[in-house]
């Protein structure tokens, strides 16, 4: 068994160049030739809108690549955000309040509310407060500071981000093949070669399908697309004009001003937007081809899952990197992990819709909701991409108040506890009001790793 000598990435846009950039770094010094063949697509291969959100974890990817946030802010028309505005509440990137006596903070909100207090969980979230006040500062490392428990993501212009990754990949020796993809030779269960409108067909040891929704390589090896049974929006609306600001999802039509939105056929008035189908491939890796971006699956824009799924897929591929023996064990494990990852992300995208009665949910999500309703417990499954605080924000934001709070609270002195919580809220409010406005984010400054 020998190392892979060549990888052909078919496609363009964010999915293709994300994989090209990542592989060129991870396979450094291994003599593996990486080529990208454009498929001539008009839509981006991973993002539905013109802008896309990143989550903090993506910084690790940029860190490995050696891309600094400053470089990105300059080159990719990027600005930071700390929360997604959902209309009546925010999904902040970071903790709510602080744990007291090991009890998760949202139990205290439940306790306050049951005691007749008005307690809005957003007012205990630094990132949510920052977003609603239009403020920004970077988190600090001191765990005792009220400014340590949050993080931020970036709002990225899709075209510029793709160009940035492309420039990076090409500078590290990734080849760009001339011509456009015309036909895929999939003999039985594996890809033999890829034809183009000029030049000889291209063959490689391993292929990455980044051709977006048509998934031309996955289709050639006959991997079916499974339509998602729960997400019912099927038209994409164009992005509204936007300026730097907090990404927002309006309550009515699942609309994100900076990213475009989606709508279902029934709700569309005059055939707005273009049709799309939400769902995923039955498998993500078959034989010698792996799908990335929309070729792997399509979900409506929400809070950064596009890049998160690309990143997780890339990390898993590296963790299971094959040799030319192409052991089926690797693909099986990859598919197990990515299927779970995808479905748990789907659950998160679906959550607000289920809570608003606009959609049904799968049993896993039903369990999550009922456990939270009953006692504020957040069930976390294998391969979750969104941590507890994201789920709590949406659940409480959409009006789910747990019937019970953690019993440990009953052993605390109520008067003192109430004072403590009020003080915590005041400290947070003061800390945020002292921050500079988001517009004043210094483009060049020390960015925490």
């Amino acid at each position: 068994m020998a190392r892979l000598k060549s990888i052909l990435i078919c496609g363009s846009g964010v999915a293709a160049w994300f994989m090209a950039a990542g592989l060129s770094r991870a396979l450094e010094g291994q003599g593996c030739r990486i080529t990208v063949l454009d498929d001539g697509a008009t839509e981006d291969s991973a993002c539905l809108g013109r802008a896309v959100l990143s989550l903090p974890a993506l910084r690790a990817f940029h860190g490995v690549l050696g891309l600094s946030e400053d470089q990105m802010i300059k080159a990719a028309r990027v600005w930071p955000y700390t929360a997604l505005n959902m209309g009546t509440y925010h999904i902040g990137i970071g903790d709510h309040g602080a744990r007291l006596n090991t009890v998760a903070f949202h139990h205290f909100v439940t306790w306050l509310r049951q005691g007749g207090h008005k307690a809005d969980i957003d007012t205990f979230s630094i990132p949510a407060l920052m977003a609603s006040a239009g403020k920004f500062t970077r988190p600090v490392n001191d765990p005792n500071s009220v400014l340590s428990g949050f993080s931020y993501g970036l709002v990225l212009d899709v075209g510029r981000y793709s160009d940035l990754l492309r420039t990076y990949a090409v500078s590290r020796g990734v080849d760009v093949a001339e011509g456009r993809l015309t036909k895929v030779d999939g003999s039985g269960a594996q890809i033999a070669s890829v034809h183009r409108d000029q030049g000889a067909p291209l063959a490689a040891d391993f292929y990455i399908d980044a051709t977006g929704e048509p998934a031309r390589l996955m289709s050639a090896v006959e991997v079916p697309f499974e339509v998602d049974l729960y997400l019912n929006a099927n038209r994409i609306l164009p992005a509204l004009p936007h300026d730097t600001g907090v990404p927002m999802m309006s309550a009515g039509c699942q609309m994100l001003p900076v990213m475009g939105g989606v709508i279902s056929d029934e709700a569309a008035t005059n055939g707005d937007g273009r049709a799309f189908v939400q769902g995923r491939r039955a498998q993500f890796w078959v034989s010698n081809v792996v799908a990335a971006g929309h070729a792997a699956g399509v979900l409506q824009p929400f809070m950064g899952h596009e890049l998160q799924l690309l990143h997780t897929g890339f990390t898993r591929l590296i963790g299971l990197f094959p040799d030319d023996g192409m052991s089926p064990v690797l693909a099986r494990e990859y598919n197990r992990l990515m299927t779970q990852t995808f479905d748990r992300v789907r659950d998160f995208v679906l959550l607000p819709q289920v809570l608003r009665g606009q959609a049904e949910g799968p049993p896993e999500l039903a369990r999550k909701i009922s456990q939270f309703k009953s006692r504020g417990r957040v069930v976390m499954y294998d391969e979750e991409s969104y941590s507890e605080s994201f789920w709590v924000s949406v659940l409480m934001g959409e009006g789910v108040l747990p019937e019970r709070y953690d019993r440990i609270i009953d052993s605390m002195e109520p008067e003192r506890l109430t004072q403590q919580l009020i003080k915590m809220r005041d400290i947070m409010a003061r800390a945020v009001s002292a921050m500079p406005p988001l517009k004043a984010v210094p483009v060049t400054s020390g960015v925490p790793a």
Partner: protein, 513 residues
Amino acid sequence: MTNAITDIVICGGGTAGWMAAAALSKVLSRDVNITLIESDEIGTVGVGEATIPPILTFNGLLGIDEDEFLKATNGTFKLGIEFVNWRSPDHRYIHPFGTYGVDMQAIKFHQFYMKLKQMGGDSQVLGELEDYNVCAVASRLNRYLRPKPGMGEVMAGMKYAFHFDAGLYARFLRGHAEGRGVKRIEGNIAQVNQRASDGFVESVTLQGGQTVAGQLFIDCTGFRGLLIEETLNTGFEDWSHWLPNDRAWAVQTDNNGPLTPYTRATAREAGWQWRIPLQHRTGNGYVFSSKYVSEEAARETLLSTIDGRAITEPRLLKFKTGRRIKAWHKNVVALGLASGFLEPLESTSIHFIQAGITKLLALFPTQDFATIEEDEYNRLTRLQWEQVRDFIILHYKATLRDDTPYWVRNRDMAVPETLTQKMELFAAKGRIFRREDDLFAEDNWLAVMYGQGIEPKGYDPLVDGLGLEDIRRNLKNIKSVVARTVQAMPTQEAFIRHACASDAFLKSAHISA
């Protein structure tokens, strides 16, 4: 909170009963009455005298001082388990706690080791995989030092657990629990009384006629499961087709030789033998399948292979491997043996009790007992049991032994698909992917899969991105730092004498000053 549980009855003392009493009385409000019913007549089984590192969390929750606890329970330190004769007769390996080496460029350490090993070359210089694990090296030299922050990277990778006298541990916890108001009633339960409308347990009647009522009952009555099974007929999932051991002989011996900071599990012709050293004596036992060896022959094997002098009569225990289908049913939660049995090959018995208590607290019910809590408790419990079950089966499945019908059977058995996938992934390139709530982490699976003789055919191709000389230098450096770190540790005996010696330890004759 309205509708809150105000009365909890724990049926059965022993390790499970007193762990539950101590934890519940610590965490729940003082208004909750906790009663524990136990009989001095019923002996406790006490097979689970070795533990795994999460026990530190449990003791931490209770606010227990570690040295005080070790002194009270004749406890010793445990850095791992030595498996003798498992891969093949006369082979031995250690499954240590803690990590192997140091990962580089986000690639697991063992991948670098595998590459160098597969390349051949000077095996003396490379050494064994164990040489890169501080717990394994310390075990070989009978050393121990309690890791503290600031002791450096090698010590930060060190984890430990304990061996202790489970009977003394129960007594120690009883002190804590009673101090916080837990009421103990001495007596035998003669009858369990159910509510006519829905079969919930209302009360238990003792032999003397006294009736103890409550809203939540914790069944710690051992294998029989007086409430969960004999009363509620919850059902049992039998796993003996994978794990056919059904008997154990247990015997105590006096200490003989240096105090080893690890449990030893020695494979025998039809099972395996444990050796658990405490400060004042050593616990031994032979877990076997009565289909493959007679009780009498097993007893002989045990008595002829123990190191020290037997100080008790061998005691026979009978069990069936499997789990209670619902560890929580109606208003009864089963802990310990009442919830199922998995042989203590990886010292998980006490951990299952601890995990059950933790889950119960996280899902603590109210008097209306929503099924949503019961369902979630049972789902999480099942996941954990199945994951540990797979890990135990691995020890039998991955073996080169074919010297007795028992071992041939183990090697040839069909195992759960989840385990097959794990073994294949490792056999190909040494890859291990941990499931999120798996009790055993990547390094645990590595230790046992590799120790049992699954030799990866390749290594992670990404390793080739690092220069060979850099890899060699790094490994050499790590190995020497580990060796030097261990050399600087005291022996376990010296550490115990200094920190937590029991009266029995100080009196015992074999210790030379």
